[in-house]
Structure formats: C-alpha cells, structure tokens
C-alpha cells in the first residue's frame, strides 16, 4: 500500500524551520489555524501568528503592510477564500505593489469534497496566473512542498503557493531539487507527453505505466510552476512527442492546461487534451470520489493519450 501524505504537514514543519532561522517570518491567518495546521507555529512563536479573524480582504492587506514594515508574511488560508474573497487585494496590494508576501492557498482543488463547490478551489490557478508579477506554484508532494516554500521564503516578491490537503503519494525522491519555472522530467518518453502538477502527478505516472503496457512511450513532466511557465520544456515535448495531455485538479478553463495551450498553440501546434474539472460545479462526493467521477485518473489520462495516438502524428 502506497503511503499517502498530507502536504500541510511538510508545509507546517518547514515554515517553523524558516521562522526559527528568520525573525522576519510571520503568519497571517483568517481563523484558519487548525485547517492550515499552524497551531504548533503559534505556540512556538508567540505573537508571530496574526489572526485577523474571518476577514480575507483585511488579511491580505495586513500582509502587504507587514511586508512594508520589513516582515516576511505567509498568508495561510483556505485557497477558495484567499483567492476568491481577496483577489483584488492580491492584485493591487501584493502583486502590483510588489509586496514581499507569500500567499499559501491551503486545501485547494476539491480537497473539501463533500462540503461542496463553495469550498472547492478549482478556479484559483486561472485567477492567480492572470496577475502580473505573481509566481504561482503547485507542489506535488511533501518534498516539493517543503522546497517550494523554502524558495518562496528566500525569493523577494509575491508568490502564490498551493498546499494540498488530500493525501498524495511521494513522487520525488529525497534528492529532488525544486527549481522555480522549470518542469521536472519524471519519466522519459517519445509518443506523448503528460504534463501534470499537484495532487494528480502520481496519476500521470500511473497512466504512463498503463500506456507502456499498450506499447506507448509517455513522457511525464511535473509542471509545479504555472507562472512563469516552462516554455522550453513544453516546446520540447511538442516537438519530440507530438502530443500533449495536461492533468490538473482545477477547472479545464485557464489553469495548467490553458497555460500549456497558450505556448503550444502559438509556437508549435500539436494536438492536446486537457484533463480537469469540466465547466461545472461538482456534485456531492469526497475529493477522491470526485477525481474518479471527472475521470482525473490514470485510466482517464490513458484514454486521452490513446485518443491522441490514434489520431496519428501531426506532419
């Protein structure tokens, strides 16, 4: 049985390590201490967790002010409310103002499953990646979460980091080195490329195994950074494999698939399939049930890849 990890644990441990080293580090939260798993941080670093109550607009504005005061604020809040409620603050106070704020969108995608679409955050990548001067990162497992958080802490400038809650297997080994803006090649292949990020990277790897049994060689890229997107890796995939399937726990409109399609369609057009949540509000179900329901699975990825292969290769 594969061990599954809640990335919030690695996130919280790493944030405590950062706070120990850097006295500027602090958290801004919207009564989201338990759901962000930062209760231990609050105990270890008294006064350095600023709880603004259930007030997301103020939360992001306060973080921008803390950055102005020389602090290193990490906003920790459910991604649906952070991005949905405070999007204008993210745009004006953080990104446009170039405030050194780290926006940590907790429990994104459909992690809140049965709580329903109000609590799903499947639009957050479309919203955030449309904003200039905002780095957008979607880590796939605990190692990548910890490293992306380390990057965010060391980098001057606005960052949106999506921190998953739904259990995921480790996809990177302990030697993995996260590099912002660079896709990680997880599996080589020549017939099709599967580009995924976040909770569904392991499913892309599983799909590649299924495709190998079909006699199809699938490349797998982990595209943790959605903005700035790794154009070179995408164009190499288009040139060398001729077909691309993207997979994400996000709406199919404007997320990773959109970002990849913007590069492919304008620089090296090849057939693509975009796997994610179609343009609907999800029915009732757990996160894992909903991923199955929408076909965001190894089988779903395999089917899309087979469809592309059967179309033949662009001349």
């Amino acid at each position: 049985m594969t061990t599954l990890y809640d990335c919030r644990d690695a996130f919280a441990r790493t944030l405590e390590a950062i706070a120990l080293e850097d006295p500027r580090a602090c958290i801004v939260a919207n009564d989201s201490i338990g759901s962000s798993k930062v209760g231990d941080f609050a105990k270890r670093f008294p006064g350095r967790l600023i709880n603004v109550g259930i007030a997301e607009q103020n939360m992001v504005g306060v973080a921008a002010g803390l950055a102005n005061a020389g602090k290193l604020p990490f906003v920790c809040a459910a991604s649906c409310f952070l991005t949905g409620r405070a999007l204008e603050q993210i745009k004006a106070d953080v990104a446009y103002s170039d405030a050194n704020v780290k926006l940590c969108g907790m429990s994104p995608g459909m992690a809140y499953g049965e709580l329903g679409p109000t609590h799903h955050s499947i639009e957050d990548l479309a919203w955030t990646r449309a904003i200039a001067n905002l780095t957008v990162i979607v880590p796939a497992d605990p190692i990548e979460t910890a490293q992306a958080l380390r990057f965010a802490a060391a980098h001057y400038g606005p960052v949106f980091l999506r921190v998953s809650r739904m259990g995921v297997p480790a996809v990177h080994d302990s030697g993995y080195q996260f590099a912002v803006g660079q896709a990680a090649l997880l599996r080589t292949g020549s017939d099709v490329t599967i580009i995924a990020n976040g909770t569904v990277v392991s499913r892309a790897l599983d799909a590649a195994v299924l495709l190998a049994a079909d006699g199809i060689s699938a490349r797998v890229l982990n595209m943790a950074t959605v903005r700035p997107i790794d154009r070179e890796a995408i164009l190499a995939a288009a040139r060398e494999t001729g077909r691309i399937v993207t997979v994400e726990e996000h709406t199919i409109y404007g997320g990773l698939g959109g970002a990849v399609a913007e590069v492919v369609s304008t620089a090296y057009p090849v057939p693509m399939r975009i796997i994610g949540v179609p343009g609907v509000f999800a029915p009732t179900g757990s996160a894992s049930w909903l991923l199955e329901y929408f076909g965001i699975t190894a089988a779903g990825i395999r089917a899309a890849a087979l469809e592309l292969v059967r179309m033949g290769r662009a001349a």
């Binding site: 504005g61 002010g65 020389g70 106070d93 103002s97 405030a99």
Partner: protein, 277 residues
C-alpha cells in the same frame, strides 16, 4: 501650543500645493480635483509638520508611514511629495503622460515616498493596519497614518481593518477621514449614509476626535497629541469641503473629476493666488 509661524508656513505651502495640483489636472485634462483640494491641508500638515520622513531616504526602515487610501487623489500626493523634496517639481508636468511615473493612482514601485499602490477603494486602511502591527512586532517607534475618503468607508474591508486595529491595540496607527460629505455621484448621506460616523468608530474601539480639516493649527494640535489614548487606535474625522480654495468648485459634486477649461483654470488659479478660502 501651536506655533503661529509654523501655521502660516503650512498655509503658504498648502496654497502652493493647490496651485501645482490645479495646473497638473488642467494640463493632463484628467484627475480628481475636488477630493484633492479637500485633502491638501491634511497632506500639508502631515508632510511638513508631523511625519518623520526623509526625502533623501524614502526607504529608511524607521520612517513614519503615510498611506493615501483614496488613491484617486494621487495628484495631491505627488504635488506634496514633490514640494517636500521626494521628486523634482518639474516632473509634475508629466502627470498621466505616456510612460510617466505619475499614473492616475500612486505606484510605490515607481514613485519615491509612496508606500503601497492604491486606487481601488478600501485597500489602504488594511495595509496601514499591517504596517502598524509590523512596527509593534519589531518594538519600533515609527507610526502609521492613513487617509481615507468618506465615501470610501462604504467598502466593507475598512471595517475589517477597523476591528483588527482595535483588537491589536494599535495606538501607533492614526486614521484620518477626509469627511467632505460628497462622493462621485452625490452626497454620501444620500448615497449610503455614514453618520453617525464618529460613533461607528467608537463602537469599533477607536478613540475619535473631529476637526476642521482645513485648519492647520487645529490639525497640528491633534497630531501633536497622538495617540489620543494609549492602547487604542486614533481616528481623526476631518470635516472638509470638496474643492476647498476655489469658490465655484467648493462643495460641488460635479467637481469630483471634472477638469477645468482654460477660463475656469485661470479663475481658479487667481483665487488660489489671492488665497481666498
């Protein structure tokens, strides 16, 4: 007691700033002259008698922070900053011109002395709360001042910020409300009533004082007695007139963002030169 020589100097500076502002708006054919003229006495008092800032070191970590939450009054801020030495006066002529640093709303990444980018309303106040919390966390003595419009207080984010400021006992934070009683389309009280505004802030845990926002001496008196009460944030409701200083603009809703034609400009300038208030 307030020094009368200092008050005279502030009045002269405010008149100079008003003339520059009027000229900028007339030249650019764009701007928000009414709300700029209502705020200029407050800005002048802050920058020339209250704020501990240094134009040669706009990023000095221990500077006092001033945030113009009503970002549409950018020309008033640019003019004040220029007269205070943060940028050349001549640069004011580039206001709203292609590639100018002086956009219609202030940009901290381009204009020295600007602390955060404002424009959408209800943004500056939460940022100011963050600055004040940051100073407390660092045990620093610098202070934060934020100027909001009155119509702007219809944005709910301000009340989130007001709650947080009292909760965190931010006596290093001063909110000044430019209470000119007019917003873009009409009187605030006919659009979405704010009164009793002082009672609202008191109920949120603030220490509130009201003042004539065009009386430099009275403003200075209040600023010199900050914080009004230790452990509480301070709110100054500055009763002002939109278009203050120009008779035909004063209290006229049309002058929210109307641009004076050449004749109106000449008339307004002559009124400001005569110092008719």
């Amino acid at each position: 007691m307030v020094d009368t020589v200092q008050v005279d100097k502030l009045q002269q500076l405010a008149a100079t700033i008003r003339r520059h502002d009027l000229t900028m708006v007339h030249r650019a054919r764009l701007g928000h002259i009414g709300g700029e003229l209502s705020a200029i006495d407050i800005l002048t008092t802050l920058y020339f008698a209250v704020l501990n800032v240094d134009p040669s070191r706009p990023d000095w970590p221990d500077r006092d922070r001033f945030i113009l939450s009503k970002g549409h009054a950018a020309a008033a801020l640019y003019t004040t900053l220029a007269v205070a030495g943060f940028m050349p006066i001549e640069e004011l002529a580039t206001f709203m011109q292609p590639l100018s640093r002086l956009n219609g709303h202030p940009n901290r990444t381009k204009v020295p002395g600007v602390e955060t980018n404002t424009g959408p309303l209800g943004h500056g106040f939460p940022v100011a709360v963050g600055c004040a919390i940051g100073a407390k966390l660092s045990n620093a003595t610098w202070r934060t001042f934020v100027l909001t419009g009155d119509g702007e207080l219809q944005e709910g984010s301000n009340w989130e910020a007001a709650m947080a400021a009292a909760h965190y006992r931010l006596d290093n934070l001063t909110l000044i409300v430019d209470r000119n009683r007019l917003q873009q389309g009409d009187l605030t009280e006919r659009t979405m009533g704010l009164d009793p505004l002082g009672d609202k802030f008191r109920a949120f845990g603030w220490y509130v004082r009201e003042v004539d926002g065009h009386d430099h001496g009275a403003l200075l008196d209040l600023f010199q007695s900050l914080p009004f009460n230790p452990g509480q944030p301070s709110c100054i409701i500055a009763n002002t007139h939109k278009g203050q200083g120009v008779s035909f603009m004063r209290d006229q809703v049309a002058w929210h963002h109307k641009v004076p034609n050449d004749e109106e400009y000449a008339l307004a300038l002559s009124e400001l030169e005569r110092g008719e208030d």
